[in-house]
């Protein structure tokens, strides 16, 4: 495995501070299936610092989405431990925001009320969070659409509602599960820029799951590469490109160096079974 100089060192190169905010240590997850036990994750270690943007990059079927359930506390790990914001994850964690691949909005609620869903779900006061929701809608440039219904918006707009929804309760961590995978290439690039802006203007740590190498490098402080089943982190690459990143970043030799290195990692991986 060829090493890229200064790239495989831990977090400090990124924008977050070194104390890990989310810590996943030695996590193993075994599913019971009709064909016997299936080891989805094994010996998984991953840290995300406060205000850090970390991507998990992996081939399909490597257990990325399982990771999401573990961090939100919807699925207990078979072994290992997960801590978030100083407390062990043992059951549902309302202080995590989730953005899915599909917008997954409630079609019968308008945009504003969709953003407020995590507040309603927690049984907190919707009225007290209205201003916060409107502010977030402004941040994702949808303040003019607060009273619209999801079916009246484009796919990219719906996904931005999803992002605002993920942030409305000031989560300790925003989990994004391939949030741009269902968008067309043009919208995708715009969304990458917008997400960077949103992240820079909010005090949020982001764990970003993706299978797009340029997307991961463009957005992240660190990129954690996940190997196929049983899933674990095979290498972590720090992205030392200056912020804010823009169009010119993708032409930066360092950007190309990093993406090429990551690509070579995937070339060496055995094909994961679906």
């Amino acid at each position: 495995m060829q090493a890229v100089p200064d790239a495989t060192t831990p977090a400090s190169a990124g924008g977050g501070d070194a104390a890990s905010h989310l810590a996943i240590e030695g996590v193993r997850l075994v599913y019971d299936t009709s064909r016997g036990p299936l080891v989805a994750l094994d010996g998984l270690d991953l840290q995300v610092g406060r205000r850090e943007f970390v991507s998990v990059l992996g081939p399909s079927g490597c257990g990325k989405s399982t990771l999401l359930k573990l961090v939100t506390g919807l699925l207990p790990p078979s072994a290992g431990r997960i801590t978030l914001a100083g407390a062990a994850v043992r059951g549902p964690r309302p202080d995590v925001g989730i953005v899915f691949q599909q917008p997954t909005l409630l079609p019968w609620r308008n945009v504003l009320n969709n953003v407020l869903v995590p507040i309603r779900a927690r049984g907190a006061s919707v009225r007290a969070h209205r201003d916060k929701a409107l502010e977030l809608l402004k941040l994702v440039k949808l303040d003019a659409f607060a009273r619209h219904y999801p079916h009246e918006l484009s796919g990219g707009m719906q996904q931005r509602v999803g992002i605002a929804r993920g942030l409305v309760h000031d989560p300790a961590l925003l989990l994004m599960d391939e949030p741009f995978a269902a968008l067309d290439a043009m919208t995708r690039e715009t969304m990458m820029d917008e997400l960077q802006q949103i992240w820079m203007s909010t005090p949020t740590s982001i764990l970003f799951i993706t299978h797009s190498i340029p997307e991961a490098v463009y957005l992240s402080d660190r990129v954690a590469v996940m190997g196929p089943r049983p899933g674990r982190i095979v290498e972590t690459v720090a992205v030392d490109l200056p912020r804010p990143r823009g169009l010119e970043t993708m032409a930066d030799p360092r950007f190309i160096e990093l993406t090429t290195h990551l690509r070579s990692l995937f070339r060496e991986m055995p094909e994961a079974e679906a």
Partner: protein, 252 residues
Amino acid sequence: MAEGLKLAAASLTTFVALILAWEGAILLFDLPAYVLPRPGAIAEALSRGWIGGFLWPHAWFTLQGAMIGFAFGAVAGIIAGMIVAEIRVASLAIYPIVIAIQSMPTVAVAPLIIVYFGVGLPSKIVTVALLCFFPVFVNTVAGLRAADPRLIDLYRAASASRLRMFLDVKFPGAIDHIMSSLQIALVLAFVGCVVSEFIASTAGLGHIIKSFANDLNVSVMFAAILSLAAMGAITGFAVTLAHRRIVFWRAR
């Protein structure tokens, strides 16, 4: 627009051809009115029934039986569906049985219900309610089960109560399924009411159809059948309209 015109012209042609064939058959085979009345005689029977008014009480009786039974059956189906979808044991034990009942000819119990509830309106209401119950029940369960698992995860991660999850996500999501089943139930409502009236009744359009068959007065039978069709079409249209209004987010 041109297509609409073509459709109208073609449909009208078929209609005229049918009427001509009808009249022609009567002339050609010398069919007596008790086998096939002339279209004009049916129009006359319709006007006597609706303008003269002798069909009114019967249409009202059938409408009552169908609508009240429909309401009871639908509400019961929705409530039972909610219970079964939310309680795991019930859904495992009861749902497959109800699915099986769906493939049974439930109208077969109509004579039994007349034994229990008499020949009047109550037996019609009960028969109709029973027929309407099953499709609504099955679709309510299916709709509640079809809730997006990611939305459920979102609510679970927020430690939302089951009730909140039900009211916010599951039930609104099931409305589309439920409204579709109401469309099916409505058809069954008229079927149930008419069959019950065939077996024994004091009034109703089914009663008219059956008793005028005994008198060999076919034009009145046709008038009653067409009236039933109109009632079914109008109420069906109302349900479709309500469906579109309520489930406004579904593009059609």
